[in-house]
């Protein structure tokens, strides 16, 4: 966008400064309200652009071409066609047709396990829920865990054994491996390399040990693109050995996050989020207490958004600040003063005041020194043993993964590698750019990859083995606290994929065992008394009892580590995990692609996130393409202005810009890894930004809009609440009377059940788990980038994000918005065919098969939570993709309105057995998909007529309020206002 169209950021500042009272805003363009913005928008959706062209060329995966007339016919008056009904030949004993089966298993990310309960319908895994017995999951799920089901049915999965790209088969592969290993016998395996990610699987560990025992000269190397090297090295600095640090947020009154996003990207994030939130729930004013969170971070994260005080500084400054803090706390750390003393001193005092009840947690992307300093500080504050405990490393063989990768590349370059086995991973794409992994890989004689997808690395592999999905595999893995989970399959491998165990076993013995035998035999060998019973229990509960790593003592280093050299330049680049596609492994997952990133609300793309100040200086607008020049490499990327971004930090989320991937991920975003060098894995100074004058369409689900002084998110501070409990809650203004309606107020009496939902904004961290859980549960289609930009996203529960305060460091608040299920629902009155109607329990029911698509209901919905099938969004699904659909929820066709149903199918699933047993549905028996997924238990569903129900109690609280309640819609979904617990000594 040309310069004259640039945003008058000065003017915006002025406005915000002058803004009276609470001023929420969502996007710069909006508060700027420049004509340029409107023009910008217009340019963003070119008038007359007709959608199908885009669909066909760009994303024909969601091809909308469908025999609509045939559909029309069925919809209208043709007679019902005769169908077949096909029974089993032998019915599995555990299966009752029409009833779901639940299996406890686990999903891993970066090696660490999260326990899940997977739902299977007639043999199809269709839904993932957390396993309450699992220490890391505590019954919740992350967006990645929810999306696992879609990966399972991804038609772009690697589907067979390929030899030099030609179809081969497993037995040929096994014999080939056998031959290869025979050759190695003499050289004791000197030419063999195994490359894995972080490994916690005891079985795999044992297998590798066996392999290395047999071939002592062979090497096992590890590489995770989002490596936790800093954590390991930090521990080494502080304690002289690698230990795992565990934080007990349940006991932490004061938390200082040093560029740590422990609420969303930590291996134990789900647990930490729950425990953290439990310390924030406030019910009654008397004796109310909340923990206090300080965050120092360069780029806004969910953790930063939750913080009571947030200090945006560049990633490189964090170490200095940490040293200054340490100094203040009496640890000689070399740095006395920083430019942030006014901020730091109160924090230091607060930490000291809560010695033994505080946590200072450093982020994975901070250098080892920061971790070491954090350990020193925690030690000094006496937090060890109270809020912080240590165990041996959960990874059986913790390695410095960068060194590990360097070693591999060196060996490959020298031609020493005859056989390279890669278990998953995509180093060609995600290895540090300066290592030239691809060139080195080309020198390997035989290269084998076990991979879930056909990616950049596959291209170099002589053998490519399709990997089995976790829901198809037997395996095991450890949670962050060391607890072991057995991973069991729900379904035979759809494309006869193999597991890591089977591949390694094929290297050790002929003919190679099935992973079931491998895993079982390993655990048999562990000599558990009463193995069969033990095995059953482990499978049923999803965790192995008492397998958590025992706490251990550590000896803290005497002094702080030496200061790192000062940064070369002020402008820095930061590489971070993408909030929805992680390191790129989920790039082909349509649910995750379409999921709006928590803070930016971008979908289908990544961008160079820049601060308003930088944008102002460089005259940049959202979508302007810049050339990022970093240490001799350059990358063209569109920019996105993020309030709260540290002034001179530019953030790139990794994983996008794939050269080789499936139809969903192709063409999305830019490749951050291409800039990432081994000396700047997480961040690095010396970035140059050059404007190119080009622009690229970036699509955000929430482009614009200030709150216009409307009372949509209510928030305040803990002291204010304690002074006056009703300062912002339901008593703030009287609710309109039930009688204020033209129609009979008692048309519905709700004398049976009375369903309601409560959402606690005070603990909601905005992680989007609810959105994607809902998508999985309710067969919600994905519409593609262009349709999202046209305003047709389909997610039933969206997470709105509002800013408040200044541009450079605004307060961020999240608000999940499902259907409100109004008692006086505006939508119901205007539907001409009664396709959206009330039911006797207060549900606002949407009847797809009655809907004729006037869309009047959506116009009349003040919350705009209704979603419309503008096109046949479900067309073109392959048979395999259809397997992901939930059989209990109608798949909506074109021309039909849909919206949140409070998971009415789950209500019926609970009601029918209850009625057969002649009892009432118990509180907590119905759990909506969003509620089940929520890591912080912010969402609670239940019967409002049961005074003992959790939801009824929550709605009793003074903080409970109705969104847009003045319209007298009488919503059944209500919110608990958000509170913050600021440090009285601090202003920012």
């Amino acid at each position: 966008m040309n310069t004259d169209a640039s945003l008058p950021l000065e003017e915006i500042r002025a406005r915000l400064a002058g803004a009276r009272g609470r001023e929420y805003w969502r996007c710069l363009d909006e508060i700027a309200a420049t004509p340029a913005f409107e023009e910008f928008l217009h340019r963003e959706y070119p008038a007359g652009a007709s959608e199908w062209r885009d669909e066909l060329s760009r994303r024909h995966f969601f091809q909308i071409m469908a025999a609509s007339f045939a559909l029309a016919g069925l919809g209208a008056c043709t007679k019902q066609p005769l169908e077949n009904i096909v029974p089993y030949v032998k019915q599995p004993p555990e299966l009752t047709p029409g009833k779901p089966l639940y299996y406890a298993t686990a999903l891993t990310l970066g090696g660490f396990a999260n326990g899940v309960i997977a739902t299977s319908r007639e043999g199809r895994p269709i839904k993932i829920e957390g396993n309450p017995d699992h220490p890391s999951s505590l019954g919740a799920t992350s967006v990645f865990m929810q999306a696992a089901v879609l990966d399972l049915y991804d038609p772009d999965r690697a589907q067979s054994v390929l030899r030099a790209g030609q179809p081969s088969d497993w037995t040929t592969f096994v014999s080939a491996m056998n031959a290869a290993m025979q050759d190695q016998q003499t050289r004791r395996g000197a030419g063999v390399r195994i490359l894995t990610g972080s490994v916690t699987s005891p079985t795999l560990r044992a297998q590798l040990a066996e392999l290395l025992g047999k071939y002592p000269a062979a090497k096992w190397l590890q590489w995770e693109p989002l490596t936790r090297d800093n954590v390991r090295e930090g521990a080494r600095l502080a304690f002289g050995e690698v230990v795992e640090t565990h934080y007990a947020f349940e006991d932490a009154a004061v938390v200082l996050a040093l560029d740590s996003d422990f609420l969303s990207t930590h291996p134990a994030a789900l647990r930490y989020a729950r425990k953290f939130a439990d310390r924030r729930r406030v019910k009654q004013p008397d004796g109310a207490s909340m923990n206090r969170l300080y965050a120092i971070e360069p780029t806004p994260t969910l953790t930063g958004a939750m913080a009571d005080h947030r200090l945006p500084v560049s990633s490189m400054e964090v170490e200095n600040i940490t040293r200054a803090l340490a100094q203040r706390l009496g640890i000689p750390a070399g740095v006395g003063v920083t430019s942030h003393d006014d901020w730091l001193s109160p924090v230091a005092r607060d930490l000291e005041a809560h010695a033994g009840a505080g946590v200072v947690i450093p982020g994975e992307s901070q250098p080892p020194a920061v971790h070491a300093l954090a350990h020193l500080i925690n030690g000094k504050l006496g937090n060890f043993g109270r809020t912080i405990t240590f165990t041996d490393s959960i990874e059986p063989a913790p390695a410095n993964q960068l060194a590990s990768l360097r070693e591999l590349v060196a060996d490959m370059q020298s031609g020493a590698v005859d056989l390279l086995i890669m278990l998953e991973g995509n180093p060609v794409f995600d290895a540090p750019a300066d290592l030239n992994f691809a060139d080195a890989l080309a020198k390997v004689k035989t290269c084998v990859r076990l991979g879930f997808d056909d990616n950049e690395t596959s291209r170099f592999c002589h053998w490519h083995i399709a990997a089995a999905h976790a829901l198809e595999s037997w395996s095991d893995a450890r949670a962050f606290d060391g607890t072991v989970s057995l991973i069991q399959p729900l379904i035979e491998p759809l494309f006869d994929g193999k597991t890591t165990h089977e591949v390694i076993d094929a290297l050790i013995r002929q003919p190679g065992r099935a992973s079931y035998d491998i895993v079982r035999e390993y655990w048999w060998g562990q000599g558990w008394p009463g193995f069969e019973k033990w095995w059953r229990a482990a499978l049923d509960r999803g965790v192995v009892a008492n397998s958590a790593a025992p706490p251990r003592a550590v000896t803290l280093a005497a002094s702080a580590p030496p200061a790192s050299p000062p940064p070369p330049s002020k402008t820095e680049i930061i590489f971070r995990a993408d909030p929805t596609i992680w390191d790129g492994r989920f790039v082909n997952n349509a649910w995750l692609q379409e999921l709006a990133k928590p803070i930016t609300k971008l979908t289908w793309d990544n961008a160079a996130l820049i601060s308003p100040a930088l944008a102002q200086r460089e005259k940049l607008q959202n979508g302007d393409v810049v050339e990022l020049k970093f240490r001799g490499r350059s990358l063209r990327a569109p920019v996105w202005i993020v309030p709260g971004q540290a002034e001179r930090s530019v953030t790139l989320h990794v994983g996008y810009g794939r050269a080789r991937t499936g139809r969903v991920g192709a063409g999305a975003g830019v490749n951050a890894f291409s800039l990432r060098t081994s000396d700047a894995l997480c961040s690095g100074g010396g970035l140059e930004i050059v404007r190119t004058g080009e622009t690229r369409e970036l699509v955000s689900t929430q482009m614009h809009h200030s709150m216009e002084g409307r009372d949509i998110i209510r928030s305040g501070t803990l002291p204010a609440f304690m002074r006056d409990p009703n300062f912002t809650g339901k008593e703030k203004e009287p609710r309109p009377s039930r009688e204020d309606t033209l129609y009979h107020p008692d048309e519905f009496k709700y004398d049976g059940y009375k369903w309601g939902l409560s959402i606690d904004l005070n603990v909601c961290i905005g992680c989007n788990a609810c959105t994607i859980a809902c998508q999985a549960e309710n067969n919600i289609p994905v519409v593609g980038k262009h349709q999202v930009s046209a305003g047709r996203d389909m997610q039933w529960i969206r997470v709105d994000r509002y800013f408040r305060g200044g541009l450079d460091n605004p307060e961020m608040n999240h608000q999940p918005v499902p259907c409100m299920h109004c008692e006086n629902a505006p939508c119901e009155l205007v539907c001409p065919v009664g396709a959206t109607v009330h039911d006797h329990e207060g549900l606002n029911v949407q009847v797809y098969n009655r809907c004729i698509g006037t869309r009047y209901c959506s116009n009349n919905c003040p919350y705009k939570v209704r979603r419309f099938n503008f096109l046949e969004f479900n067309a073109g699904l392959t048979a395999v993709q259809k397997m992901a659909k939930n059989p209990d929820v109608t798949v909506r066709s074109r021309g039909v309105m849909e919206k949140c149903t409070y998971c009415t199918q789950r209500i019926n699933a609970a009601r029918i057995p209850a009625e057969i047993a002649g009892r009432k549905i118990r509180d907590g028996e119905i759990v909506t998909a969003c509620q089940a997924a929520c890591p912080v238990e912010a969402i609670v569903f239940g019967d409002l007529n049961d005074p003992a129900s959790r939801v009824a109690k929550l709605k009793e609280q003074p903080l409970d309020y109705w969104m847009l309640g003045e319209l007298n819609t009488r919503p059944r979904t209500s919110y608990l206002a958000k509170l913050r617990n600021p440090n009285p000594e601090l202003t920012v």
Partner: protein, 201 residues
């Protein structure tokens, strides 16, 4: 005048077509891979519905017998009968028998057998005199209107639980009174029964 006649005529014809067996399949015996006779098995041999439709009391689906179930008897009886050839082949080749659906609801209707059976709605109420069907046919239109007739006034159809599987049961003279009494006894919430959410997810 002619205009009016045309309109009304067209309306009448459409109505007739919609309610004709051609559209509804009512009383149209469906050809099956094996001409299975409920009449013979139920009326003749007195086999209980639940012997084959095992999950009818516990699941939305009544359950269609797997080939094995047929074989419990037919591994001994009529083993050579050519009529049963498909069944034997099914077991031998482990490929299911493709029966033709007789009672078929649209995919957006979530009918649950267990609740109906447990609240005293007899099999015959919807499926008709199956025990008199040499080849099974659809006894009712299964149109939504037909469902609602009962959901609006269950007392007209409800019967004592113990009579649910009794094909010979017929409504007593005092059905009205009995119905009201059973509706109360089985806690059938009549006002809730017509909520869309009861059948449509």
């Amino acid at each position: 005048m002619a205009f009016v006649v045309a309109i009304v005529g067209a309306g009448w014809v459409t109505d007739a077509v919609f309610w004709s067996p051609y559209t509804t399949y009512v009383h149209v015996p469906q050809a099956q891979p094996v001409p299975f006779s409920h009449q013979h098995h139920v009326d003749g041999l007195g086999i209980d519905c639940r012997y084959c439709h095992t999950s009818v009391e516990s699941s939305p689906y009544a359950g269609l017998p797997p080939t094995e179930t047929c074989m419990t008897c037919h591994s001994q009886l009529w083993t050579q009968a050519p009529l049963l050839e498909p069944i034997h082949r099914s077991l031998a080749t482990n490929t299911p028998v493709k029966w033709t659906r007789v009672n078929d609801l649209p995919d957006f209707v979530y009918f649950d057998h267990s609740i109906h059976v447990n609240k005293g709605i007899g099999c015959a109420t919807c499926h008709g005199p199956v025990d008199q069907m040499p080849l099974t046919w659809r006894a009712n239109t299964l149109y939504m209107k037909w469902c609602l007739d009962c959901h609006r006034a269950p007392e007209n159809q409800i019967r004592p639980r113990e009579e649910v599987f009794n094909m010979k049961w017929s409504q007593p003279a005092g059905q009205a009174a009995l119905g009201r009494q059973l509706v109360a006894k089985y806690h059938v919430e009549t006002d809730r029964l017509t909520n869309c959410s009861v059948c449509h997810h």
